[in-house]
């Protein structure tokens, strides 16, 4: 009985350590993450109080988005009327139905960890699935990692596990967007070969290679760009387009042809 305490200590530490080491396989166990019902509902209650303090900022963002949408509407209406003039019966415009957006509210969010996570107030019943992209009106936010019926957990750009394929808007050079854990406002673009043409100030957008994000969503702006002597790749730093400290509303991207794309990729490999 004298050594009972030591025994208990070793067992508890062993259990915890197994969790730490296997954290990748527990990522999808949603009952152990913040999308678990109890944890999520506490975050939900907190958010319903805290949300009032961010209302003016959210309002501003919404009105900006509103104006942009109105502008697009005017543009598209004029294009449509032109098309109707030339083609009386069959207008050759088919709306892009490949991607759909599900809007959701951020109920918990962190930027001060090495591995940050976001919890959303929508889940499986709202049509959200694992590996869907998440964006807001500013740009790319992250990718869904776990879903329960009413909530979901997102791995944002600010997590070393996130790797998002991006390209420079001007020169079409590809790279992978990752985060080194230091500053929540800046991310790094890796795997851009030395012969590529990249300059400070370039805009980074999603490449559209995966079925997670549509092409052309803002990801960031290049702020530093150098070619270290002993590396085969550029060293590039970019400011994130989405401001993670003040996330409130996001949109989850649903790609309707995901299964079809997956089958065609599989068949191509055989």
């Amino acid at each position: 009985m004298r050594y009972g305490v030591y025994f208990l200590f070793v067992i508890l530490e062993a259990i915890s350590f197994i969790f730490v080491v296997n954290q990748n396989s527990f990522q999808h166990a949603s009952f152990l993450s913040s999308s678990n019902r109890a944890a999520a509902s506490i975050y939900n209650a907190e958010n319903s109080i805290v949300e009032y303090f961010g209302l003016s900022e959210s309002n501003k963002q919404l009105s900006v988005e509103n104006t942009e949408l109105k502008n697009r509407l005017v543009q598209i209406e004029s294009q449509l009327s032109q098309l109707k003039d030339t083609t009386t019966k069959h207008p050759y415009v088919v709306a892009d139905q490949q991607f759909q957006y599900i809007s959701a509210k951020v109920i918990s969010n962190s930027v001060n960890k090495l591995q940050n996570y976001i919890t959303l107030n929508k889940g499986r019943l709202d049509g959200i699935e694992v590996e869907m992209g998440v964006v807001n009106n500013q740009g790319v936010v992250g990718i869904v990692s776990a879903v329960t019926d009413h909530f979901s957990t997102v791995i944002p750009l600010l997590n070393p596990k996130s790797r998002i394929s991006c390209k420079a808007k001007r020169s079409n050079e590809f790279g992978v967007l990752v985060w080194n854990g230091v500053d929540p406002d800046y991310v790094q673009l890796e795997e851009v070969p030395r012969h590529a043409v990249i300059h400070v100030g370039d805009t980074l957008i999603t490449s559209g290679f995966s079925s997670i994000f549509p092409e052309g969503i803002l990801a960031g702006y290049v702020t530093k760009c150098s070619k270290p002597e002993n590396k085969t790749y550029y060293s590039i730093e970019a400011r994130t387009a989405a401001v993670f400290r003040t996330l409130s509303y996001v949109k989850v991207v649903k790609f309707n042809l995901k299964e079809e794309l997956r089958t065609v990729l599989k068949e191509g490999e055989q």
Binding site: L8, I15, F17, F19, Q23, Y43, V182
Partner: protein, 165 residues
């Protein structure tokens, strides 16, 4: 332990977990400020409490925080470790002739002794948790910086709740 005391500590447990999850894990100042005030519960747990029970409570508390912050096992590991070495730290700093069952605080132990005890516990907790979070020795200076800054803030918070007279 009487029901009253039990109730008091259960309340403390709940309040500190909620404070930690809702406030201290959400400070977005400088990107790495994340003081771990919840350890105040383990710091001032009465020494008369069975050592095994202390470990189990520490595990529960750490596990709860893990679920809230998506860090499987990290809080649990660090908290259980700190709860385990608590007795050794107390034996190291507190003179023998003090009575056996007490709640460690500035009032009981005096400022210098409590400062030494609290500093050891708090720094150890931060170092363990942030190392586990990084889980590599790459950029270890960042872990050390986080430990230093956050330990200091946590200690300030701990001492701000103490009665000095």
């Amino acid at each position: 332990m009487s029901t009253n005391v039990l109730l008091k500590h259960t309340l403390r447990f709940i309040v500190l977990v909620l404070l930690q999850v809702l406030i201290f894990n959400n400070i977005r100042f400088l990107g790495y400020v994340n003081p771990l005030l919840y350890i105040w519960f383990i710091l001032s747990l009465p020494t008369g409490v069975n050592r095994s029970l202390t470990l189990v409570v520490a595990f529960l508390m750490g596990g709860l925080l893990d679920i809230f912050s998506n860090t499987p096992g990290m809080y649990a590991f660090s908290t259980v470790f700190v709860a385990f070495v608590r007795k050794d730290f107390l034996q190291l700093f507190v003179p023998r002739d003090i009575y056996t069952d007490y709640e460690p605080s500035v009032k009981v132990l005096g400022f210098p002794t409590f400062l030494k005890y609290a500093t050891c516990m708090v720094v150890l907790l931060h170092l363990l948790l942030f190392s586990l979070e990084a889980f590599s020795f790459e950029r270890y200076w960042l872990v050390l910086l986080k430990t230093l800054v956050n330990s200091f803030i946590t200690l300030l918070l701990v001492f701000s709740t103490q009665k000095f007279k």
